[in-house]
């Protein structure tokens, strides 16, 4: 009996993992679903909204697009809009971003001495979104005890 429960649990976990990995491959992005962490893109996106990304290699980066990028050396993905693009004939691209709700562009957020972002900094382009759904992640980050609660509850529910 216990054997079946453990097997069942393992199946569910590995299916979830497979779906997630599959999504990574299909979208081309290392992180195809991200949660909006700040209010810098209001009123379009608020903290807790969920974004769906794609990151196809041949997709050009164009002004007006909403990109999710990571500053070199930092782990936090930032969701802002591209406001300047300079692309060379060989495909080499450099671009500048700015949050809709911010007064100034993102140069202050980039690395020391870095003035532009490049394709390698991009996690993906925002293609779709769902409001509020990501709130769970934010609450879990802000209240770690809550995270433990959710995890034990999840395991109990599965078993």
């Amino acid at each position: 009996q216990l054997y079946y429960q453990v097997l069942n649990f393992a199946m569910i976990v590995s299916s979830a993992l497979m779906i997630w990995k599959g999504l990574i491959v299909v979208t081309g992005s290392e992180s195809p679903i991200v949660v909006v962490l700040s209010g810098s893109m209001e009123p379009a996106f608020h903290r807790g909204d969920l974004l769906f990304l794609t990151n196809f290699h041949d997709d050009p980066i164009r002004a007006g697009e909403i990109v999710v990028f990571k500053v070199e050396g930092r782990d936090i993905p930032i969701v802002h809009r591209v406001i300047k693009v300079h692309e060379k004939g060989n495909g080499n691209i450099k671009f500048l971003t700015k949050g809709d709700n911010n007064e100034v562009d993102d140069r202050g957020l980039y690395k020391e001495g870095q003035n532009w972002l490049e394709k390698k900094d991009v996690v993906g382009r925002a293609r779709g979104f769902l409001p509020y759904v990501g709130m769970v992640t934010i609450i879990m980050n802000d209240y770690p005890k809550f995270k433990v609660c959710i995890q034990t509850f999840g395991i109990l529910a599965l078993v």
Partner: protein, 138 residues
Amino acid sequence: LRKNVEDFTGPRERSDLGFVTFDITADILNGKNSIFDWNVKQLFLYLSAEYSTKNNALNQVVLWDKIMLRGDNPRLSLKDMKSKYFFFDDGNGLKGNRNITLTLSWNVVPNAGILPLVTGSGHVSVPFPDTYETTKSY
């Protein structure tokens, strides 16, 4: 959709800086209906300048943007607007550049769902003069 512009350039350090003033008259529709249907929360409008230079095959610079919320008037009638953001080139490609295209585009932000980028029909070509202006009466 009509835009009228006047412009002049001024050198800053080593990059060209362009100054543009413009008028925008636009009616944002989705076919015959208002673009603001039940699933449209807002539109993020932006005016971008697109051009080629010796340095870069493609350049796009957003000069101005505006957020239009559901419930706002979908007709725009703006006159004598100055660009919101500095129009710097990555180099000196603005001087004498005859082919700078200004286009109005917008990002449709739904209440939930896909985020499309739409480009308005109609665009304006702006030529920049061959010389720099030394007095900046902007």
